[in-house]
């Protein structure tokens, strides 16, 4: 059951007006351009117990992603594929509005949008994750941990997820005589096979403006947000409109145009960081 949010933080009118008058000048409150994302930092290999990991800072937003790999049974209708599971937590320490408890509809939406963005375009090569067809495959657990919420959790989470996956190493294993799989986690070196890289771009509508990479306050005052998923060829591989306001038909086209440009920026940064190496 989904309920209209009734305890949203209040953004002062004066501040909202200040934002809008800055948008009129093509600027944001922190001095960046209206379609410019905040400064981004990506660190990979930050969690020793995870087979892949990344920490992303997008302005003040911080997201940590860990990839854990375990042996599991494949789905019956996909015996020749590994399993990919995406889970997200709005950790209470990340924001005064996050309460302890199981993931709420926002955390679930975040996980499912990231999941779809990876799955539909087959970003991760699931066929390469088979150990014994129909019986044993690798199960990839992707856990998105929001540590500090200043808006745009989608883009930060997708970047962190992609960076973590791109540096994930599959553990070695040996098979016993009775067919049991014994996993050796130390010294994993086989890279996970990635077919496509994906980023999401979040565009928010405030007054008459479409802005990129909203902060927390901008998300609160926005009519809606459009999260567009792109692969490295700038194909649109997913989309999610989130928020209560209605989107005008002509805004979609403009958003896609803006989104593609920002996607290029995200890919550039992602590739730079990955090239710098783990």
């Amino acid at each position: 059951m989904s309920v209209t949010p009734f305890k949203l933080p209040v953004v002062p009118h004066i501040r909202r007006q200040a934002y809008i008058s800055l948008y009129e000048k093509g600027l944001r409150a922190d001095g960046r351009g209206i379609h410019e994302p905040r400064s981004i930092d990506v660190k990979t290999g930050v969690l020793e117990k995870a087979e892949g990991s990344a920490h992303v800072s997008l302005g003040s937003t911080q997201v940590l992603v860990g990839v854990k790999i375990e042996v599991a049974q494949p789905f019956r209708d996909a015996p020749d594929q590994g399993v990919l599971v995406v889970h997200a937590e709005n950790v209470p320490l990340a924001s005064p509005i996050f309460e302890p408890g199981p993931p709420d509809e926002n955390a679930i939406e975040l996980a499912r949008v990231v999941d779809r963005s990876l799955r539909e375009v087959k970003a991760v090569d699931l066929e390469s994750l088979v150990i014994r067809v129909g019986e044993k495959v690798w199960n990839l657990w992707i856990d998105i941990y929001v540590l500090d919420h200043d808006g745009n959790l989608f883009d930060a989470s997708m970047l962190a997820t992609m960076a973590a996956l791109a540096t994930t190493k599959i553990p070695d294993y040996e098979e016993t005589e009775v067919g049991e799989i014994l996993v050796r986690r130390e010294g994993a070196s086989k890279p996970l096979k990635i077919n496509h890289k994906v980023v999401t771009v979040t565009i928010a509508k405030i007054a008459d403006f479409l802005i990129v990479d909203p902060t927390f306050e901008e998300e609160v005052i926005a009519d809606y947000r459009l999260v567009l998923s792109f692969d490295e060829n700038l194909r649109i591989v997913g989309a999610q409109k989130t928020g209560e306001g209605g989107m005008k038909v002509e805004e979609l086209k403009e958003a896609i145009r803006i989104g593609k440009n920002t996607a290029l920026t995200y890919f550039k940064i992602l590739n730079q960081k990955l090239a710098q190496g783990v």
């Binding site: 969690l47 990991s53 911080q62 950790v91 320490l93 657990w141 500090d148 014994l182 986690r185 130390e186």
Partner: protein
């Protein structure tokens, strides 16, 4: 499941598998103010154990009834991230996390000046990002720093450490391997400036002499760790001064 490599826990020279002596702490690092939203925050590492703590409040609770008329309520959540352990951990709170949340809360109750803020809640969230033994005591240390960073008045700083008995020998600050192969595990936390022990548990069997010696070793280490906390806090605010 996995196969455990044979590890020599203590070698002929009396050194542990990571080269430490029996009474040696792992390298400890502390950072404060690592999160923008929280009133106070700290990231603490004991060797490869990595714990993040954040404080919110004092603030009025979301549920109006969750108050006491004469003091603040502490809400402590100790939780392990799914990627913090070798096998992925289900994010839903386990019985262990629920118990540890309680003992950590009780480790802080007598220290925080909760009587200053009646009818409010002080939230302390502890997330284990990487688990290699001693997560609850590292959590207490991180919580102490986060509270100081938040400006919540405290009677003193708190720190914790675990002592284990492994192969008949008492070892300070046991890591995961040592704990898993040991005969006993004794986490201790407290405020040395006040001479108060606020967390004390024993899992396993120890003689009275072992308890006393182990406790003494732990308390000694706790004094050192609190001294580190003070240094970190001082350094961070060294840029503060008064214009004459």
């Amino acid at each position: 499941m996995g196969h455990k490599a044979k590890v020599t826990l203590i070698d002929e020279r009396g050194l542990r598998h990571d080269g430490r002596r029996f009474d040696e702490l792992r390298p400890i690092s502390m950072q404060i103010g690592v999160l923008a939203n929280a009133s106070g925050s700290a990231l603490v590492e004991y060797g490869r154990t990595k714990v993040l703590a954040a404080v919110y409040g004092p603030r009025e609770p979301s549920q109006k009834f969750m108050v006491l008329p004469d003091r603040a309520i502490l809400r402590v959540r100790y939780h392990m991230a799914p990627f913090s352990t070798s096998e992925r951990k289900n994010p839903a709170p386990s019985r262990r996390e629920i118990e540890l949340s309680k003992v950590i809360r009780e480790a802080l109750e007598d220290i925080v000046l909760s009587s200053e803020y009646p009818r409010t809640v002080i939230d302390i969230f502890i997330e284990v990002l990487q688990a290699d033994g001693g997560t609850r005591v590292a959590g207490v240390t991180a919580a102490s720093l986060a509270l100081a960073d938040a400006g919540v008045p405290m009677k003193g700083l708190v720190a914790g450490v675990a002592v284990g008995k492994v192969g008949g020998v008492l070892l300070l600050d046991v890591d995961e391997i040592e704990d898993s192969m040991g005969e006993a595990d004794m986490p201790v936390a407290g405020a040395p400036d006040l001479g108060l022990v606020t967390l004390f548990q024993l899992n396993g069997v120890l003689s009275e002499d072992e308890v006393e010696r182990g406790f003494s070793m732990a308390w000694n280490a706790i004094e050192k760790i609190v001294a580190m906390e003070k240094e970190v806090l001082r350094k961070k605010f060294e840029a503060a001064g008064e214009e004459v």
